[in-house]
Subunit: 384 residues, 3 copies
């Protein structure tokens, strides 16, 4: 296996700009794999890095300086990701998460895969003695031990690893090992994360994979397919949109966001799948996830104007997007024991033809089967 | 035109230390123009950059990493700027604006031209649901697209441009294009800024050009000349100083600051002018500004000790220095429409001889003409 | 004297990685002195620097980017320092001290010598109009003017200097000159700091030298020896541990921390000494300090689990660890006049054999002499 350490405190390695073709990675010349790292510059990008993995038809852009986030993917000309008003790959040193009542996180929010967690996730606000900022700290934490691995035999799996620490003396001793992998022949991007509590006390934790998608998949007539046991509106505003919660409008002024809470159904392997496809079903994004550690799903329908951010989030999590204070009663604030590890697996199906979309719809239909989802007309949580 | 991109994410350009003489910029050898960029180091300067433009008799130091601030100007041996206790050119990554009740901005405050804005400016405090930190965020935002332009024909105008973004998903989508220019033959530094709301919703905004001056212009006997329709004290303390509001004392222990609010008069071109000159009128700073977008003027008389900061601010703005919460009733919280741009023009007259000062006084006298300013003895705002 | 400027804004010097042997410093080849500087990388270490001074049997690691902190010392195989869950040498740009109710400081806390101060030290909380974050700002401030000095004649004293500023317009104008020195032949590390108020007004200040030690010195049976006039528990929890306050347990689950406040006795030179030695007295750390400026001592008995942080703090200070609001009544919030300097001297005895430990015990016993310490059973401060 070809292995290249891009960043490591342990090994005192710090690779800057880099461009590797197949041969340089010991692969046959015609294996369609290319790896690039770029040091970004200008404005609040200063210090940011971008790793671009070209693997078969997929081009994946990873941000090691923002907790191994995935900025976006382009596969066969279809872009997976979205257009935030925030255009820069903002370096964490420019983010004050405490700003504006805990909303500073929004100053850097523009990626396709955004991890929220792990001490807490969800909306800002007071939880007992603690004030929690929006969506936790992990996304504004630069990774260490960033390592590229490329298998030398078919299917030539490319894996990018990075470790992200979330530590505070007396409070938190979390280490997150992230791994992102894909192969040239398959339309999948696999995220496998392991959260370990290195401390000697059990701790509450939360995780939300805030995965965000827009055009060309999101458009008027785009549809969501989710196998589910229960659907409920996040708040009163979303209650008004329950009827067509899974039907996407064109960019709509003053739509703002409707959020829907789902308790999903999973298959015999413990996976659930959520699909968003475009109007004519020619492309789509399928988000598959293991429901043992990610038991609930948030749908974030933010179909406002293009300039404001026209985007839908498909977000498996330990928890919904409420402040942690509200979620203990829902049983959605799990605990990680001393020395314990939790595994999170999320697979992204980057569907760029109608057959793939069709197959995913069929699979989800089968999962739903004859089970009628319970539709709650009022939110699970009465917000103060 | 000679053009050099010093910093650009778009073009992937990041020039470090640099020194250019006239010939290197394609100019005749004897054109007195020199450009230098220095990467600063040490303490909280780490990451800061300084661009020094020597143009004729003027040496202008610009800080691209602090929103294109102007640190100071020296012209013909006269320094325009001040001596803050903060000596470092502080990099924004070391500033937590939320610190100490929203006063963290003061940790880096030491420039001659300091932009305050643009979501808000003014004193920290609660405005409805929002806590606003002192003077907004723009000054602690590094610029991108920093571009030097030098015209190849007389008067050989030198222009330095930079773009500064103020963006937060769902809240703000502002872009500021700054341009600063001067010519070898004229005692003027021109700032032309354009604020654009790239979002699809109208937003409130505020701008204050917090321009600060000290010795040798500021001294015992230095005087301010401002053509005005109305003058009022910022607070009760300033009310006690209305009598000699425009007469400057020597550095004075326990003076702290008196702030005066002015509704200025403008000329037929829409410009107003404020002048501070030294005791014998041999040098001065004339701040001229377009009153359509900068309708009010704040005079910040901070004539405390040298060590504490002996300085006078001449600050045209959309608003006074009160917290935004107080200024809606004064009509001083304007709105910028979706896609709209606002232009701010401030010209600095760097006056280094008595004739220039004389001419400026005469011009201001003429502007005032026979109109008697209204002097309010109590503040416009009753502070809580 | 050999002098090397490692970092200086004044001189525009910024040395990166560096390795110097005795000859390169103009010393005879066999003088056991070596100096290294390393630029750290990865995660929140990005931008951090580490200076390693090898002087005789002592290896001292200094962090100029965190206010000249000492990460740890190893002497004759004995490590002086501790193992925080925070493993990285965190760069200040990643620390938001305002986070989580003022506890953000804990995100980088892992050194042997940690300065707390100088506007304030102690626990976070409201003091009048001001919200104070944990232990002040100095530790998260990078140094400037970092200078190495090596004397060319025996005893070949090695001194490392650095200046750290704590400045905020209108509020603070402090400069700290730090000096750390040692010689090859002696088991001492000497810290001599000078705090100067460059402003024209007197200011309150506080300083705590938060010195932290763990294995092999700290273990079950390790003992503290402190000559004292008065001992009191920090709070009710510590009151329950007064009996064996100076006897150290093995790492103990749920121990958390007990804090003891001491008014120490000092010798005829104005020094007091506190010793922590291991169970069999074969090694120990002796903290000596001038009590004119550091009149009180805090013992921080944090003998929790290894993973949580098994550590004892021996902390001379102007003040105890209470929030500043509580300490004015105790007479422990001193004032530094305009232009005045305060000198803090702390000497670390790095004792690695039984005789040294024995001598230190004897010295402390003699200091205590026949004076019986007053043991208060209740805290000096009634915490709200």
């Amino acid at each position: 296996m070809f292995q290249l350490v891009l960043l490591s405190h342990q090994q005192h390695i710090n690779v800057g700009n880099l461009s590797l073709n197949a041969e340089l990675m010991g692969l046959p010349k015609d294996v369609p794999i290319h790896v690039q790292q770029t040091c970004l510059m200008g404005g609040k990008q200063t210090g940011s890095r971008l790793i671009t993995l070209t693997v078969g038809g997929s081009v994946v852009r990873v941000v090691p300086t923002r907790g191994m986030a995935v900025l976006d993917v382009v596969r066969n000309g279809v872009r997976f990701g979205w257009d935030s008003p925030v255009k820069e790959v903002v370096h964490p040193s420019f983010v004050n998460q405490e700003a504006s009542g805990g909303l500073g996180w929004l100053d850097g929010f523009n990626e396709m895969i955004v991890r929220c967690g792990y001490q807490w996730a969800g909306h800002p606000g007071q939880d007992g003695d603690e004030f929690l900022t929006l969506h936790g700290r992990i996304q504004n934490t630069p990774a260490d031990e960033v390592i590229l691995e490329v298998e030398q035999v078919p299917p030539y799996r490319v894996t990018l690893r990075g470790r992200v620490d979330e530590k505070r003396f007396k409070f938190t001793n979390f280490e997150l090992q992230t791994a992102l992998s894909l192969t040239p022949d398959a339309p999948y991007l696999l995220v496998e994360d392991t959260l370990t509590n290195k401390g000697s006390y059990p701790r509450e934790y939360q995780a939300i994979y805030h995965n965000n998608f827009a055009q060309p998949i999101l458009e008027k007539g785009a549809q969501l397919h989710v196998p589910m046991a229960e659907l409920s509106p996040f708040n009163d505003y979303a209650a008004g949109g329950l009827n067509d919660w899974n039907q996407m409008p064109a960019p709509t002024k003053d739509f703002d966001e409707m959020v829907f809470n789902i308790r999903p159904l999973s298959d015999e392997n413990g996976f659930s799948h959520a699909l968003l496809h475009n109007a004519n079903g020619s492309c789509g994004i399928e988000v598959s996830y293991q429901t043992d550690t990610l038991p609930v799903l948030t749908i974030w329908k933010n179909t406002d104007t293009l300039e404001q951010g026209y985007v839908v989030g498909i977000e498996p999590g330990t928890s919904f997007a409420y402040n942690r204070a509200y979620q203990r009663d829902l049983g959605l604030v799990p605990t990680i024991g001393a020395g314990e590890s939790k595994h999170f697996v999320v697979r992204f199906g980057l569907l760029t033809d109608g057959d793939q979309v069709q197959a995913s719809v069929a699979n989800i239909d089968q999962l739903q089967g004859t089970q009628t989802p319970q539709i709650l007309s009022t939110p699970l949580v009465r917000l103060a």
